[in-house]
Symmetry: D2
Subunit: 308 residues, 4 copies
Amino acid sequence: MGFKGTLRPGLVQLRVLDFDATLNFYENILGLNKVCETKDGRICLKGYDEFDHHSVTLRKTDKAGLDFVAFKAADADTVEEIKDKVVKFGYKVDEVPANSDQPGFGKRYGWTICTGHRFEVYSEVEPAEQQPMLHNPDIWTKPPRGMRAQRMDHFLLYGPNIMEAERFCQEVFGMYVPEVCNLPDGNRLATWITSSNKPHDLAFVEYPEPGKLHHLGFYLQDWADVGNAADWIALNRLKLDIGPTRHAITRGLSIYFWEPSGNRIETYAGGYTAYPDHPQRVWDADQVGRGLFYYSGELIPSFLEVVT
Amino acid sequence: MGFKGTLRPGLVQLRVLDFDATLNFYENILGLNKVCETKDGRICLKGYDEFDHHSVTLRKTDKAGLDFVAFKAADADTVEEIKDKVVKFGYKVDEVPANSDQPGFGKRYGWTICTGHRFEVYSEVEPAEQQPMLHNPDIWTKPPRGMRAQRMDHFLLYGPNIMEAERFCQEVFGMYVPEVCNLPDGNRLATWITSSNKPHDLAFVEYPEPGKLHHLGFYLQDWADVGNAADWIALNRLKLDIGPTRHAITRGLSIYFWEPSGNRIETYAGGYTAYPDHPQRVWDADQVGRGLFYYSGELIPSFLEVVT
Amino acid sequence: MGFKGTLRPGLVQLRVLDFDATLNFYENILGLNKVCETKDGRICLKGYDEFDHHSVTLRKTDKAGLDFVAFKAADADTVEEIKDKVVKFGYKVDEVPANSDQPGFGKRYGWTICTGHRFEVYSEVEPAEQQPMLHNPDIWTKPPRGMRAQRMDHFLLYGPNIMEAERFCQEVFGMYVPEVCNLPDGNRLATWITSSNKPHDLAFVEYPEPGKLHHLGFYLQDWADVGNAADWIALNRLKLDIGPTRHAITRGLSIYFWEPSGNRIETYAGGYTAYPDHPQRVWDADQVGRGLFYYSGELIPSFLEVVT
Amino acid sequence: MGFKGTLRPGLVQLRVLDFDATLNFYENILGLNKVCETKDGRICLKGYDEFDHHSVTLRKTDKAGLDFVAFKAADADTVEEIKDKVVKFGYKVDEVPANSDQPGFGKRYGWTICTGHRFEVYSEVEPAEQQPMLHNPDIWTKPPRGMRAQRMDHFLLYGPNIMEAERFCQEVFGMYVPEVCNLPDGNRLATWITSSNKPHDLAFVEYPEPGKLHHLGFYLQDWADVGNAADWIALNRLKLDIGPTRHAITRGLSIYFWEPSGNRIETYAGGYTAYPDHPQRVWDADQVGRGLFYYSGELIPSFLEVVT
């Protein structure tokens, strides 16, 4: 009711290098809740303000990065429609059975897009045990911890051929593109894409190596919580990339830093209320430093170079 | 792309008692921009962060209140579909020609719903002269003024038979209902309804007299701007109703006060990110005081008694 | 070095009705740290940002209120000078030996002022075990809890003859008076008094009954933390008096509420930077509603009626 | 009453390169009020929340930097005492007659300290025309503009022999030293010094070249206003040095940037409440990066290299 295509990114599986420091980060510093551990030792987490079973799965291995991202659609019919569109778009789809690798999740379809990332779509997922209250609700079941992350929000992916990826998200997922950054030759340097009023559900930067994760973003309440997140970064000696700052792109308030396994995390708040009838914002590549880091106006080398 | 049915409430026409104090309020205190004056002397305004021609029209008369609210749909086909559904729902539809009473607006369809309020739907509207920037945009074209209202956000309407109005918004507009408040007999006391990720585009409270406006809400950036709005209320001796406070319902941060003509205004920020797949939050009528005014936990008489 | 007379209020002893709910409030909701328990069962607490042994002692009895307030002076000589001035002012002074009723505190002198409150002065006190860091310090030793109260800040006392009390604070403690509220007959209705840049260390309201406590104020970082305190009030069903609001008097951002034993607590932030060379701000009694509650502009009956 | 020695830094004279862009910055972006222009073309400014005649004088010349800083003492006797102490300390004192170069100011004494900076002391100064309200005051006479700077707050000076300068401030001005940073050989790298509850009124960094200004700091309300200041920096294309960030030293929230003439400005908020009885915080030189820029933990070269 109200949405076509996908609703939002609902699940990511991250590769992490260890569980002690990393899990401490996600639970006690970022403030996610641990939901369960799978039989093969992966750990499922969720934000306190999310309703579904879990949104982040951590898999321990020897190389940080992203296994896949999965998008939730409103119902099973939409999932089938999307699957058909994926096939028609030219990607090969496989099916992940219900309750296989992701506890609580129904059937998912998956495929690899041109940028080398595995995308999935699903609609069925069990409600979380630790849902927000529903009957005469308080704003919190329990007070948030640490950085007070509310929910998984978005991700930025690096890979080749992002104009095709952008077209894919529009044609197959029914998303729209609030902002783009163009190279002088008219090609995209970067694109920000969304299903809803969020200014981005995902974004791409053109990059020769496929399948890379630039950052995973979590939503905070506001600028005050962005400041609080920075205090926690400092207290815990996490490695800061940049921030607190504002993106002119999306207008969000942001900090980039690295979790103990080396994946870049963004704690993000604000951002404008996007609508599909709003005109697209367009950035020239030589202005993207200011678009990304509005206060300094300058790109930092790590933004373009460090990915997992 | 991404939305079915209506996108959002896009235009309201308010009745005001004078133009000197009232217009000073909307322009210099609330911070809207004046767009134009109609030939018959109405004044059109918009928030600095809105893209369409205008969103608020003030009509001078001897009784404050609401003339109509109009909802924007994504395209002309959707407008026709909605018109057909309105007729099927049983309301009588009229047509307002393009560029008649509202400069810059295309054709609108209008009808009166069971609560006594005139609703309209449209898709065509000219872009505002004072749009947000689109090419290498700054976050503001000019710094916001006064309370720094970004855009018209929502309204709360009082009238009879709100369960029908709620059903209308779902069936005709494709909206969904994130929260309701029920009386012990199972009837609605109040309902909060949205097209999108906003926790409400509009709300209704059951009330014997038809066509009443409880408040018109404008969106602020965050709790800091809610505090700034309160400072402006005090400095300008506006009459406060309640706040700064938080609603547990929608989780928004809020102040209610009256503009010089006696219409209640809300300066509102925050609120959760709503999705149609989230379960509905349900309030018991005896808990609605806490739902509305989370900090005091108590209903104030003016909330139920003062409408325009 | 830099201050004459007293430095600040450094210790209060409060009467509370029980220890379960009340201590839970002070430790886990307000966020003070428990320091120790005395042999006769009183409990000593401090804010995370205070350096001295403790600042709040809770004594369990059958009537809420205030046993005494104690002011810290810079050194032992100043304490003796103040004692002499108290005697000369006409109050009878007694001596509380070091390490008697208050663990960690050196000798205190005490006396009752005209308003019926017991005042004390001291300079010697052991450092707290849980001090803020001193060598390459982080901003917190451990992250603050709950309402994140930093320190005991001030108190408002109700009693008779406050003009004498005001004169006492100036002549004996070397304080100054940034704001007063006068009755039409020229007498004080209220007075705000400080030793330093804080806009008040204590305040008095004229009241026929002696020795009453209106509220005890704790300092928060800013308006964002005032909002957070309100969320904790709501979540824990504490009884709100008023707020979040701003005082025009002191310009502080404030919430008044009652802790479980019925003592009124203020969570307070902001306030102007006071200096003794600044002219005094003067309020007319008929404007004090706006002075106290800047946003509504109206006095609430409980402010004048409910004291412990 | 309550303070010994100096109250605060009350006046600085800055050298600027032009008046068009620079004055636009101080008035319309930083938000100071223009008070007057001297006969020889200097411009006097003040923060909206300051009571004295003016606090910043701009002198147009061909090299940015600082002409002098002047400290206010509580009364004329204290000024004479300080003058005598300066002479005894070994500096040569001159006298600036009342109403000579600084309109509204009484007699000042001046001298050059070991770091090569001219210091002055005074007590007599006319009240500002644009004072904060005193009778039933609103929090603002007029709403603040731009970055909403409330008042001149502090400065950081670079020059040789700062241990002597620190001792001077203590012995002559009666100040105390909340924080220091020591080199491995026990010498000071930097020192933060105050008269009052502010964590610093001034600071020094050891530097071979005398008489240099690192930055002039202005006080903002809170972290929300620090964010707003950053938005104004970006919108006006001012050159950012670093921030928004937090100093662990003083705990203040900060942005450093350069005004159009090249003087570094800090917009600063927060900071702990300092007291002379609190123990001194001590930084090791190899940790000062984290002390200055708590979030990144790293010194930036410009901090040590760029001064005016």
